[in-house]
């Protein structure tokens, strides 16, 4: 499906290069309707590279297309790991943490600003590098050490999740007259139980019919023993 987007994005250049010859333009555009699949953000790097190649000559354009398959796979893996498994969970966890600390629109503002600052900056940079340096864009992306950055982001996510869990105690008024320690421990037990069950089933997605009874028991326990 991404090939439609690729053809749409590169069409203005093809029109500029082969616009006078309608048949050739159609033929070149059809060449871009090949199977293309990558991370949507990293597609900018490949698009820049393809524009760079196509601008030089038709043959170079074909070579660029031939390489795009392997580049798509490579950047798909890097981009998915960095953006979907690293940046998105980190920014979302921090935004949720901000909300439970101080409920306001700042959480949404933070989410939009933090994510877009990184992702738009990266998209713009890799596109320009692909456009000007061609295949050299690989070196640019390598120099960023994205897997190492992703590791750091995962640690930040873990810390933000722990703080969020703690903030839930006050936000949902579970503390009562007791210290927040005991309700927090019950909450941690609930989270650990649900996480263990998810891991055992090999699924990340929580099921409502599991969470609801477990959550009800935890809340009733907290209300009975620590709140009233």
């Amino acid at each position: 499906m991404q090939c439609l987007g690729l053809a749409y994005a590169i069409f203005p250049l093809l029109e500029q290069l082969y616009g006078k010859d309608s048949e050739r333009l159609a033929q070149r555009t059809r060449r871009y309707l090949v199977c293309f699949n990558t991370n949507p953000y990293m597609a900018a790097a490949i698009l820049g590279f393809m524009v760079h190649m196509e601008q030089q000559s038709e043959e170079m354009g074909d070579q660029g297309l031939a390489l795009s398959g392997s580049l798509g796979g490579l950047y798909g893996a890097i981009g998915d790991a960095f953006f979907w498994n690293g940046l998105k969970p980190m920014v979302s966890s921090l935004a949720v943490m901000i909300f439970f600390w101080h409920p306001s629109l700042w959480a949404a503002v933070f989410l939009l600003c933090a994510y877009n600052l990184v992702h738009l900056g990266m998209r713009y940079t890799v596109f320009l590098h692909g456009l000007h340096r061609g295949i050299g864009v690989i070196e640019t992306i390598n120099s960023w050490h994205l897997p190492a950055v992703r590791n750091v982001m995962e640690f930040v996510t873990s810390a933000a999740l722990a703080v969020t869990a703690f903030l839930l105690v006050d936000y949902f008024d579970l503390r009562g007259l007791a210290t927040p320690v005991l309700p927090f421990l019950v909450l941690l037990a609930l989270i650990a139980g649900l996480a263990w069950r998810r891991q055992k089933l090999g699924e990340g997605q929580p099921r409502l019919w599991e969470c609801l009874p477990a959550g009800s028991v935890a809340v009733v326990l907290i209300l009975l023993f620590f709140h009233i």
């Binding site: 439609l4 059809r30 629109l105 995962e154 998810r198 997605q205 929580p206």
Partner: protein, 235 residues
């Protein structure tokens, strides 16, 4: 406790038509995180007249589906549509004097419980639109062979229209069902249960945290979580 007919139709239409633009951000266009439940829920609430409860609904859903990643061929639940519908419904019902006494978190919980069963539908709809859109490649190729270069390239935009149409239908369906069902459930909910239901909303962020923890494949990450939790317990 429910809305009058004209408000019902107006709100459903407004949230469906405008909210679906926000839903496009998920796959079809932009991808600048307007589709995150935190933002989409707030927007759904804003469209129905109360962004605060929309934000609460959005933040509850933000972590819940985060462990589902759009990696490879996996099509995750469309939490944008769920957040938009839940935010819109909660805000619409919050504005009614009859619901003025119902605590905000209880209302958010009931709305989420009514909207979440539609999660399966959003996945199927997304998958259906993708299959439909994949046919556009052949249509585009045919148009190019016929020499209609400029109109051929617009098939890409038709793909976006398919996403938009599907989002409008799904949002409309979810809004209608929840606007009808939630007032009945609120009416049936006894007042003595409010302290429990008010706090039960925490299952969404808690389950979201659990989902993310279960996906962590490095022991060091879990150690960081445990370490920070321990520090918070001590201090």
């Amino acid at each position: 406790m429910g809305l009058d007919f004209s408000s019902f139709i107006w709100l459903t239409t407004k949230v469906s038509l405008l909210g679906a633009i926000c839903a496009l951000d998920r796959t079809a266009a932009f991808q600048v995180m307007f589709s995150r439940p935190l933002v989409a829920g707030t927007l759904g609430g804003l469209l129905a007249g109360n962004w605060e409860i929309g934000l609460l609904v959005g933040v509850s859903l933000e972590l819940y589906f985060l462990s589902e990643m759009p990696v490879g061929t996996n099509i995750p639940t469309d939490d944008t549509l769920l957040a938009l519908a839940a935010g819109g419904t909660a805000a619409a019902l919050r504005g009614l004097p009859a619901n003025g006494l119902v605590p905000e978190k209880t209302l958010a919980l009931v709305v989420l419980l009514v909207v979440l069963p539609w999660a399966g539908l959003t996945r199927k709809l997304d998958s259906w639109v993708r299959v439909r859109n994949s046919r556009l490649i052949d249509d585009m190729e045919t148009a190019l062979l016929a020499g209609q270069n400029c109109s051929a390239i617009n098939f890409h935009l038709y793909g976006m229209l398919n996403f938009y149409g599907a989002a409008v239908c799904a949002l409309g369906l979810m809004m209608i069902s929840s606007l009808l069902l939630v007032p009945v459930l609120l009416y049936c909910l006894p007042v003595w249960a409010w302290p429990l239901t008010d706090r039960l909303l925490l299952i969404f962020p808690a389950a979201g945290i659990a989902g993310l923890l279960s996906k962590m494949n490095q022991k060091r990450q879990l150690a960081v979580f445990a370490g920070v939790a321990l520090l918070l317990l001590i201090f």
